[in-house]
Each structure stands twice: as C-alpha cells, then as structure tokens.
Amino acid sequence: MQLSAEGAERILAALESVPDPEIPAISLMDLGVIRGIRREPPAVLITPTYSGCPATLVIERAVREAVDAAGYSDVPVETVLAPPWTTDWITERGREHLRDYGIAPPPKGSASMTLKAGAPVACPRCGSDETREVSRFGSTPCKAQWQCRACLEPFDHFKCH
C-alpha cells in the first residue's frame, strides 16, 4: 500500500494545529517531534524529546486523533528513535511562540555545545541578558529554571539538547 503525495500533504496539514500537551503554546510540528510521513508503507513518524518523556503517549494519542479526523485512520503512527531529537529541530516560529509564552527558547545550533558553555539566555519578558540559572531542571526534563536579574522574574529555559 502506498500513500499519495496529496494524502501525505493532507495529513501534515491536519497535524499543523496539534499542540504539545505540556507546552500548548507550541505545535508538535514546530517542536520537531513529527518527523514526517512515510508513504510506503504509510506511516506518520514521531520521535520522543527525551527517552522518558511522560508526554510521549499523550502525543501519540493526539497525533492519532488528528490523523483519524483527517480521514486516514488506516495510516499507523510509528515512534522512531533515530536520529535522536534535538532542540535544533524547533522551528523559528516555534521559538517565537515559546518566547511569547514566557519560556526562553534554546539558541539555534546550540545542541552540540556543552551545556555549561552556553550563550547567555535572554529573559523572555524583558529581553535582558542579565540572567542566571536557578536550577538545572525545571518543571519538565526539557526545561531548566532561570531568573532575570533585571526584571527579577523567574522563567523557564528550554534546555539545549
């Protein structure tokens, strides 16, 4: 069985509006966890952010529902590990949405850098670079807790990965 190019486009279009369950400000497409559509044999390919990301099952279900709603319930959703997800796959639009939501996005191309040598993180509220790490882990494995010295607000930083 083969999926038509048009069918693949329709599925992708349906997935554009599916939000990440933990950070609804960003879509799964912009987060880079939807790896694409395989046309033969047909499958929607998704990848987890972290090995143990608890949202993985919820993401799979959300993708399943969107693909069903688009009329492609016979196309399976497949989880792939390779190549491993990196924050470099977060789109520009995704980064803007994160910032608007109050989460400092990871700088582009940062995934290969060591974590300690990272560039200064700009405060998502006032834009100041005068910020400091409070905790290496935040509310989820993909975020760290930071604080702005200028406006004093705490904020989440989406870690380079």
């Binding site: 987890p48 972290y50 090995s51 143990g52 990301c53 608890p54 590990l81 390779a82 190549p83 491993p84 997800w85 995934a111 974590l115 300690k116 409070v134 905790s135 290496r136 882990f137 935040g138 509310s139 989820t140 494995p141 807790q145 870690k159 990965h161």
Partner: protein, 265 residues
C-alpha cells in the same frame, strides 16, 4: 581483559535466551534500579530544585530502561515486555551492577553514586552508539545526551560539597568511600559480553576505565578531595548475586503489580 570473574555455573540460568538477552537486561536493569532509588528522594530532597533534578534524572533513566527491556523481551520472544520484566522477576534474575542498588544514604552519598555511575554510563553509551546492533545504537544515541547532563550535574555537586563546609566535605568523603568497592564491577567483562564484543554489539567495558579514571581525578581535584583508595572490589550483580538491598527495593517497586496482577491505570 578480565573475563573470568564469574564461574560458569552461575550463568546457566540465563543461557537459554542467549547472551544478547542478558546484555540488554544489564543495560536496562542498571537504569531501572537507579531510577527506583532516585524516586525515594521524591518529596524528601534538601531543596525543591534538587527534588526536581533527581526526579527528572529518574525519568530519563526509566525511559532508557523501558527501551532496553522492551527490546530484551522482543529478543527473548516469550511474550514478556519491559513492564513484565521489571515487575515480575525475582532479585536473582536482575542483572544490574551492585552500585545502583546501594541505599541512598544522605544527599552526598546519593550524588557520589550518581556521579560515578553516570560518568561510567556516559563512556559506555558514547561507544554503544556505534554498536552493530542498530536498536542498541539508537537507544544509546538517544540516551547519551541525557546521561551527559546527569554526569555534569552530579560533578557540580561533588565539587560543591567537596569544596564546601567541613561538614559537606566530610559527608562527600564518606559517600564516595561507600561507593569505591563497587567501581571495578562497572568495567568487568565476562563471557556473556566477550562474545558480543567480538560481534561489535557490546562495548569492551575494560577499555573505558582510563577515561573514567581521568575524569574522576579531575573532578576530585576540583573538589579538593583525596584520590580514591580502592578496597577489594565486590561483584556479582551481572550474574544475579545481589546485596540484600535489592530485595527490599524490589519489594517496594513490585508490590502492587505482584499483589494485583490485573491492576491497570
């Protein structure tokens, strides 16, 4: 290379499923058991930030364990998945190293154990990414970035406590002292792994010791802590000979699924 630590008869119970199954249990059980230990800190850590860190490290580890154990179940082909393997095996069927099952002790001992394990696991995963078994390679490639973060975070705490107050320094010295006897086992190669190493599936752990020692020396120096004095090593975890601590850990971890096998949530 040391390949003669386990007498042949201690391995017969795992022979029917082959070395590959055993190797995957070793990889998965290390992560699973350490995760279970870290969850004991949940709600008890010295600060909220540390609570979050330990729980999130545990989350990464449970993810790795799930991937390795599900694959082990598929290789075994007897209908057991990762959950079944985690919750319905007895202590003697676990293949984790002894270090990860050791009690948390205080926060210093927990971070000492974390630093030593994560640093060894990092070296292992960096090489496992090149495994000729593609599934192992991709699980390692997925996990290696997580493990690097764990090793870095733990190294920070070794320095912070070692180079802190007299009290924190003493505690870190005691914490590390508790761990030294379990380090040799992390780099053991036995017959189960020797065959897999020849096929390029497994990594020769003994070859990772040099880089581990170098990293350890550097962090201990930063922390102003003394170089390790290794007592006689304790081993046996890879052959299912565990300390009494594992039984207690499993009693907690497996209680619910064993008492109520059909429970779901």
């Amino acid at each position: 290379m040391n390949r003669d630590f386990f007498p042949a008869d201690t391995r017969t119970d795992s022979a029917p499923h082959g070395a590959m199954f055993d190797y995957l249990l070793r990889l998965g059980d290390d992560s699973l058991i350490l995760c279970q230990r870290l969850t004991e800190w949940c709600g008890h850590a010295p600060a909220l930030e540390i609570d979050l860190s330990l729980a999130n490290i545990g989350l990464d580890l449970i993810g790795q364990a799930t991937l390795f154990l599900n694959f082990a179940g598929a290789i075994e082909d007897r209908g057991r998945d990762g959950d079944r393997l985690a919750f319905h095996r007895d202590a003697s069927d676990f293949r984790n190293c002894l270090l990860v099952e050791q009690p948390n002790g205080d926060f210093a001992q927990t971070m000492a154990r974390q630093f030593l394990f994560s640093t060894a696991q990092l070296g292992l995963f960096e090489q496992l990414m090149l495994s000729t078994e593609p599934r192992i390679a991709e699980i390692a490639a997925k996990g290696v970035k997580e493990v690097r973060y764990h090793a870095d975070l733990a190294a920070d705490w070794i320095v912070r406590l070692g180079d802190g107050t007299d009290e924190s320094r003493n505690r870190m010295v005691v914490g590390l002292d508790w761990c030294w006897r379990f380090i040799d086992e992390l780099f053991l190669v036995d017959d189960v792994e020797a065959g897999l190493i020849e096929q390029g599936i497994a990594v020769d752990r003994s070859a990772l010791r040099g880089a581990f020692d170098a990293r350890l020396s550097s962090v201990l120096a930063d922390a102003g802590l003394p170089a390790p004095v290794y007592p006689r090593g304790v081993r046996g975890g890879r052959a299912g000979r565990h300390s009494e601590h594992l039984g207690h850990l499993l009693a907690t971890m497996q209680h619910l699924p064993r008492s109520y096998p059909d429970a779901v949530w």
